[in-house]
Structure formats: structure tokens, C-alpha cells
């Protein structure tokens, strides 16, 4: 395996998608947590932390989505997916949209110099957390975290 062969690098045993996925999940969940804290404590510091984490989560979805699709193309040669693999792909795409939607709501509020975030973001954030968690659960199942070491 040549270290600078793109296929070899993407299919390395430490599978980049599996490594990178932790970043958007963690940043998104922490961002939501800070948003809830900012709402409860009415502290702008928490709101700023929420914004930064959500921005990081949104940016981190890009390499995750790219490596996920490349793994599908290279490891499975783009064959038609079904079952858990298909569910994971669809939920992964929905998760990406949800993360970007939540970030966009926060971004738009900041751009408009508005102090208060719209209340309708809360059910969207809750749904985002649920979809991200479900996607992560299926991904963990697929990656073999339950496998004997």
C-alpha cells in the first residue's frame, strides 16, 4: 500500500470517515448544549460558544460527507446500497442538512444583529440531535464497535 496513493489513503485501516465523524457529532451536541444554557442563563458568552461550536460542526460535516461517499465508491465500488448501509447514508445526508439548518438559523440571527434567536429553532435542534444520534448509532453498529477485539 503506497502512502500517497489516494485510494490507499482513503481505504487505510483507520478509515477516515470513521475518525472524522466524531467532530461534527461532538461539536453539534455541545453547540446545542451551549444554546440551551444561553437560553436558560441568559448569558451571551454561552450563545457565542454555541455559535462557534455549531459553525465548527457545519464545516466538519463536509469532509465527513466526502469521505463517507468516497468510502462507498472505493470500498463498495458504488454498488446499490440496501439495509443498514442505505439507512446510514440517508440519515447521514439528513443529519448534514439539519446541522447546516441549525447553524444557518444562528448565523442569520447574528448577521441581522438580533439578540434573540427564534423559538422555532428549538424543535429543529431537538430533531437534529435525534437524527444525528440515530445516524451515529447505525454508523457505530456498521463500523463494528460491538465486534470482538
Amino acid at each position: 500500500m503506497h502512502p500517497f496513493d489516494i485510494k490507499a489513503v482513503l481505504l487505510a485501516k483507520h478509515a477516515q470517515h470513521v475518525v472524522l465523524i466524531h467532530f461534527p457529532i461532538a461539536l453539534f451536541l455541545i453547540g446545542i448544549l451551549f444554546d440551551v444554557l444561553a437560553r436558560g442563563a441568559k448569558r451571551s458568552m454561552f450563545a457565542a460558544a454555541a455559535y462557534c461550536n455549531l459553525a465548527g460542526a457545519a464545516i466538519a460535516t463536509v469532509p465527513v460527507l466526502v469521505t463517507g461517499i468516497l468510502a462507498w465508491r472505493f470500498a463498495l465500488e458504488g454498488q446499490r446500497l440496501k439495509g443498514i448501509l442505505l439507512q446510514h447514508l440517508v440519515l447521514g445526508c439528513v443529519s448534514t442538512v439539519m446541522i447546516w439548518l441549525v447553524f444557518w438559523i444562528h448565523f442569520r440571527t447574528r448577521r441581522n444583529d438580533s439578540e434573540t434567536l427564534p423559538a422555532y429553532r428549538l424543535p429543529i435542534e431537538a430533531l437534529g440531535v435525534a437524527v444525528v444520534t440515530l445516524t451515529g448509532h447505525l454508523g457505530g453498529f456498521l463500523s463494528g464497535v460491538n465486534a470482538p477485539s
Binding site: 481505504l11 485501516k13 478509515a15 470500498a75 463498495l76 454498488q79 446500497l81 440496501k82 439495509g83 443498514i84 448501509l85 453498529f141 456498521l142 463500523s143 463494528g144 465486534a147 470482538p148
Partner: protein
């Protein structure tokens, strides 16, 4: 006269004996041959079992996914001899190995899962 009768009796006994034992022996050989031609590898709990399979040339190896998770069977020898599609639970993949050699393989979804077929 007596001698020719005994020769004829011996010939009849020989023919009858071939009739009785011949087909049985043949079917035993066929069964043995069939047994040699198909071998099973079970994919269970993220493991190929047996991990190393030694078979004669011309054997068909069948992999069956007994896991709840999809797996693949992809050979990693230089000529990439065999490659399955994604196997869901209870799906099978068969390949006939017609050349002697060692065929290491892995699951492309779970690269830690490896196995080997040795064809002699």
C-alpha cells in the same frame, strides 16, 4: 464338464459381485468428490470461520453471512481474484478456485476482518 461349470459359476459370481459392489463404490467416490468440491466459510460475529481454509484445486468456496451486519468478501492477492457484493444477513457468495496458491481476503467494510484460502 465339472471344471467348466465351476468356471462359469465363478464368472457369474464375479459379474454379480460387480453389480452389487460396483455402483456403491462409484457413488461413494462421487460423494467424496462432491464433498471436496464445496467448502463453507461462515461469517459470524465479525469473524471468518475458519480463518484459514485449505482446499484442493477446483473447490468452490461459499461464504455465508450469519451476522446482522453487512459484510463483503474481497481477495487481496495481486490479481484480486474474487470480490463479492455487499452480503446482508444469510446471503451467500461462492467462488471456484481453479489455481493453486494462497488467497488472502478481507471485508472491505471492516478491514480488520481477514481470512485466507490455501488452494493446493
Amino acid at each position: 464338464m465339472r471344471r467348466s461349470v465351476s468356471i462359469a459359476g465363478l464368472a457369474v459370481a464375479l459379474v454379480l459381485g460387480m453389480g452389487v459392489f460396483g455402483p456403491g463404490q462409484k457413488s461413494f467416490e462421487v460423494r467424496a468428490q462432491q464433498k471436496m468440491e464445496t467448502m463453507e466459510v461462515k461469517i459470524d460475529n465479525f469473524t471468518f470461520g475458519p480463518g484459514t481454509l485449505t482446499v484442493p484445486v477446483g473447490t468452490t468456496v461459499t461464504w455465508t453471512n450469519k451476522d446482522d451486519i453487512p459484510h463483503t468478501v474481497v481477495s487481496t492477492d495481486d490479481s484480486k481474484t474474487f470480490k463479492s457484493k455487499v452480503l446482508d444477513t444469510d446471503e451467500k457468495f461462492s467462488f471456484t478456485l481453479s489455481k493453486a496458491g494462497t488467497y488472502p481476503y478481507f471485508c472491505s467494510i471492516h478491514p480488520k476482518m481477514t481470512g485466507k484460502v490455501v488452494v493446493q
